[in-house]
């Protein structure tokens, strides 16, 4: 029986129903207001104390690329796959994106967060992570 394995329990929320949207678990500085992802207890801008803040699920594509070769170590999913830098509530997140073909992507296009399987690992488990996909 395949089980679901999440790449982390402190990066994103997992929707409990189809109507619920996932969010990224970021943080916001109490002093300067900078938003960071992943969440951290301090601010990389000013060193101030930061508090947790759920961000997304909407974002805008800042830049995009894809991975063709070599297969990155530790990743066992399909190749090529898309990679983007997506601006989400003040922070640019480098992430897996569902569209591997650069000709179908455009800077500044609307993106949305999804929580989906990345690959099936050697033991047959579904490895689940977060991705962004272009909004249809």
């Amino acid at each position: 029986m395949a089980t679901d394995i999440y790449i982390s329990d402190s990066l994103f929320t997992v929707p409990k129903s189809p109507s619920e949207k996932p969010h990224l678990m970021g943080s916001k500085c109490k002093t300067c207001g900078e938003v960071t992802f992943p969440k951290q207890p301090w601010c990389a801008n000013c060193g101030g104390e930061a508090e947790e803040l759920l961000i997304g699920p909407k974002g805008k594509l800042y830049s995009f690329s894809n991975v063709n070769n070599p297969v990155p170590e530790g990743y066992k999913g399909p190749i090529p796959f898309g990679v983007g830098s997506v601006a989400v509530d003040g922070v640019r997140v480098m992430c897996y994106i569902t569209e591997p073909d650069p000709s179908k992507l455009k800077i500044d296009m609307d993106m949305e967060l999804v929580v989906e399987p990345l690959f099936v690992d050697d033991e047959g488990n579904n490895v689940i992570g977060f991705k962004f996909r272009p909004v249809a």
């Binding site: 690329s65 990155p72 170590e73």
Partner: protein, 386 residues
């Protein structure tokens, strides 16, 4: 008050693959060559040593320098990613400039594993998401540059063509062969828009530089010594594109836009030296990939923002152009043994300023700048002058 510092001798072990040689063999050859180049300076004259390496392990500099004599001087091993060699150079520079030592040596040695670099500092979630490869940092920046300024895939490929044209003239380069635009632009896509022939390969090699006071230089061979006109070092600050680059983890600010580290350090180097971008006769820069070179043209003020692609189209950075960039063939032709790479750049400047660069010689070169970028946002900018 800092005093003037001279580069008296340089030595480079050619870059490539040397299965029969150890890490220590490579380093020893560079050190011995640098001492000879410094007018036959005896090793006991050297009062401090700094060794840059990423893969060298414990006591890297100690293991190399034991081959020339353990004279009791401090040996400091340091890592600033691909800027390790130039960081060692800057520490040696500061030690001499401050009057703490009259002679210091900077060495950089590397024997890298084959294949794309393994990134050990990425968190597990990035590794599992397929994001733990440093090529992505460059490709995402290149893709944005294309969208923002209209830079083309052909312009990116032309950087690699130029580098290999120069590398074919450099006996220290790993790839001493010209490459056509066709060969580059049809090579395998690594990460859009960057192809295999647009990335520097890992390699093996070593470099060394002997830095000293003007007095010591006079004693040896004044005619061939060149002066350190500026030596600047820093790390990309929060809110700039290379902040945290190559070490994984942190996202980037979409709100704050601080000055890029290479922009800031080159500006500082121009101010300190009184040598501006128009006064430079050559530049050696960190072309880890072809787009980095185009972006650095802009950050150094060699052209306006967004005009980098045009510079390569117009041939301005060829050896015969008005501002030759990477006459050595750059990292794209020489390969990049990380710790050694920046010392090879500095040796190229030294040879060019002395008029000893052979077929790559830029006539009458009087001032040159070398820049290195390393993981974590490390950056160094050094100007040498005749």
């Amino acid at each position: 008050m800092l005093r003037d510092v001279m580069v008296l001798g340089v030595g480079v072990h050619p870059f490539g693959r040397f299965d029969g040689k150890t890490f220590e063999d490579l380093g020893q050859e560079a050190v011995v060559t640098a001492l000879k180049d410094a007018g036959g300076m005896p090793w006991k004259e050297v009062q401090a040593a700094f060794c840059g390496t990423m893969h060298g392990g414990t006591g890297a500099g100690h293991r190399v320098l034991a081959r020339v004599g353990m004279t009791g001087i401090p040996i400091v091993n340091l890592e600033t990613g691909c800027a390790a060699g130039s960081s060692a150079f800057i520490m040696a520079y500061r030690t001499v400039a401050a009057g703490i030592a009259d002679v210091a040596i900077a060495i950089g040695v590397e024997k890298m594993p084959r294949g794309f670099m393994k990134m050990t500092s990425y968190p597990q979630w990035q590794t599992m998401s397929g994001l733990a490869i440093n090529t992505l940092e460059f490709s995402l920046r290149a893709s944005r540059h294309m969208a923002e300024y209209g830079t083309t895939e052909e312009q990116l490929a032309k950087v690699s063509v130029k580098s290999h044209k120069n590398g074919a003239l450099n006996p220290y380069a790993m790839y001493q062969k010209e490459m056509s635009l066709e060969q580059v632009i049809t090579s395998k896509m690594v990460c859009f828009p960057l192809r295999l022939m647009e990335f520097a390969a890992p390699g093996e090699g070593a470099g060394a530089a002997i830095l000293c006071s003007e007095e010591v230089a006079k004693k040896y061979n004044t005619g061939r010594a060149v002066k350190v006109a500026a030596a600047c070092i820093g790390v990309a600050q929060y809110g700039s594109s290379r902040c945290g680059g190559g070490i994984g983890g942190m996202g980037q600010s979409a709100k704050i836009q601080n000055e890029e580290v290479a922009t800031k350090l080159s500006r500082e180097a121009y101010e300190i030296s009184g040598i501006g971008p128009k006064d430079l006769d050559l530049v050696e820069l960190q072309d880890t990939d072809s787009s980095s070179e185009i972006i650095l043209y802009e950050q150094f003020g060699l052209c306006e923002l967004g005009e980098g692609g045009r510079m390569i189209d117009e041939g301005r950075t060829e050896i015969t152009g008005d501002i030759p960039v990477n006459p050595s063939g750059g990292l794209l032709s020489c390969s990049e043994p990380t710790g050694a790479s920046a010392l090879r750049q500095l040796a190229e400047l030294t040879w060019q300023l002395r008029g000893e660069a052979g077929k790559r010689q830029i006539p009458n070169a009087k001032a040159g700048m070398a820049q290195a970028s390393g993981a974590g946002g490390n950056c160094t900018v050094i100007i040498l002058k005749k």
